[in-house]
């Protein structure tokens, strides 16, 4: 039996623990909804108001995450927000009259995009634009409207 040197054992333990920790951090933080650009396609949607929608926010169909917001910019001509949606290639049969609306997860949760398929037989393909959109509902505007309406009723 060869004697195990304390130094070798210590260094081995140290490196193993370190690599295990790196692996743990990587595994724990990989988002299962992550997609690579090979297995996805892009759609574009224009909104008057996106609220605090962020890049990488989920795109959901019937509540199931099927994609991510990949880019947000502003069209300098019509002053609307242009949102790029990166959608899993598995879900490539959206009718052209599909509706995109910005929804809120819970009362104070983050914003995400909910797609509601329409009934058209033509399908959306890569880099198409979704015509029908609903802007984000801003809670503070809603409260403001409610208060103003209340005061005029009196």
């Amino acid at each position: 039996m060869q004697e195990v040197r304390a130094i070798d054992f210590g260094v081995g333990l140290f490196i193993l623990l370190g690599l295990a920790s790196v692996l743990f951090l990587v595994v724990q933080t990989i988002d299962p909804g992550r997609m690579d650009s090979d297995n996805s396609y892009l759609l574009e949607a224009r909104f008057d108001q996106i609220g605090d929608l962020k890049v990488r926010a989920p795109v959901a169909l019937a509540g199931v995450t099927i994609g991510r917001v990949s880019d947000i910019s502003v069209d300098p001509v019509d002053f609307r927000a242009v949102v790029q949606l990166q959608i899993d290639a598995k879900y490539n049969n959206f009718p052209v009259d599909t509706d995109a609306s910005i929804a809120t997860a819970g009362l104070l949760g983050g914003k995400y995009i909910e797609l509601t398929p329409g009934g058209d037989t033509d399908l959306l393909v890569d880099k198409d634009e979704i015509e029908f959109t609903q802007s984000a509902i801003l809670l503070e505007n809603l409260i403001g409207k409610y208060m103003l309406n209340g005061s005029t009723d009196k």
Binding site: V11, F14, G18, L25, V26, T29, D31
Partner: protein, 260 residues
């Protein structure tokens, strides 16, 4: 009045001179870096004294930092009814900031000071001069292995610190505060990003590892060859490394934020 301005100038000149000689020292070390991998045993030895012996401190530190982080953030999150995301909050803070920074600070205190005093004592007892006489380059035999071992150790220690912190947070959140286990891990999964959080934290700890180990060997190599000089070198290593780590952390955080 005249005296104070002159003092300031003198102080600045001293600082600039030290800073400059540190840069020159680092550049002088560069050609030795690839050569040292021909002698892996020298690195292994240093990995043991610098890295493996810091394990207990780092694991203990990480565990309790994670536990305290969860405990502290829980009360605030409870006000908003979002206690489930306590794990995501704690692990984001750990992976991005606390892991790299606190691990590097602990490393400077535990390993940096010992390296500085060890090299300083070699200088004081003329061991370095003796090596030069025997045509053994002290940069290659003493300095380079310690720097390489430090650069390898600090990122690993930071990862261990973060992982232990998340584990400690998990224990407190689920066993003491009653957060659901699935919700704890699920929020971490969704909210902590591999690219933005883990990789950035890793890059930080690599930079901290380079600066911490370079400063330790620099202070030791240039220590006054007296008892006071060696203790001075150890103290300076901890103080200067800590300041630089915090400063670099701010700069690197700013750089990564700018990209977003």
């Amino acid at each position: 009045m005249n005296l104070t301005i002159r003092d300031c100038l003198h102080g600045f000149r001293g600082f600039a001179a030290t800073f400059g000689s540190f840069q020159l020292f680092s550049i002088r070390l560069l050609p030795y870096i690839p050569r040292i991998f021909a002698r892996p045993l020298l690195i292994t030895e240093q990995l043991y004294t610098i890295g493996a012996l810091s394990l207990v401190l780092i694991m203990f530190g990480g565990l309790f930092v994670g536990m305290v982080l969860v405990l502290q953030s829980f009360t605030t999150l409870a006000e908003f009814g979002s206690t489930d995301s306590v794990g995501a909050f704690a692990s984001q803070a750990l992976v991005r900031e606390l892991g790299p920074v606190v691990a590097a600070l602990l490393f400077a205190g535990r390993a940096g000071s010992s390296v500085a005093s060890e090299v300083g004592l070699m200088r004081a007892t003329d061991q370095i001069a003796a090596m030069e006489l025997m045509a053994v380059d002290p940069m290659e035999r003493i300095i380079a292995p310690r720097v390489i071992a430090g650069v390898i150790s600090v990122p690993l220690l930071a990862a261990i610190f973060s992982a232990m912190g998340i584990f400690g947070g998990y224990l407190v959140a689920t066993q003491v505060l009653g957060v659901d286990t699935g919700a704890f891990w699920g929020h971490i999964n969704v909210r902590v990003e591999l690219g933005q959080d883990v990789v950035n934290g890793f890059m930080k700890s690599v930079v901290f590892g380079i600066s911490a180990s370079l400063m330790a060997v620099f202070e030791g190599y240039h220590a006054q060859p007296t008892a006071a000089g060696i203790s001075n070198a150890a103290t300076r290593t901890v103080v200067i490394t800590s300041v630089w780590i915090l400063l670099l952390d701010f700069i690197m955080t700013g750089l990564t934020m700018a990209k977003v």
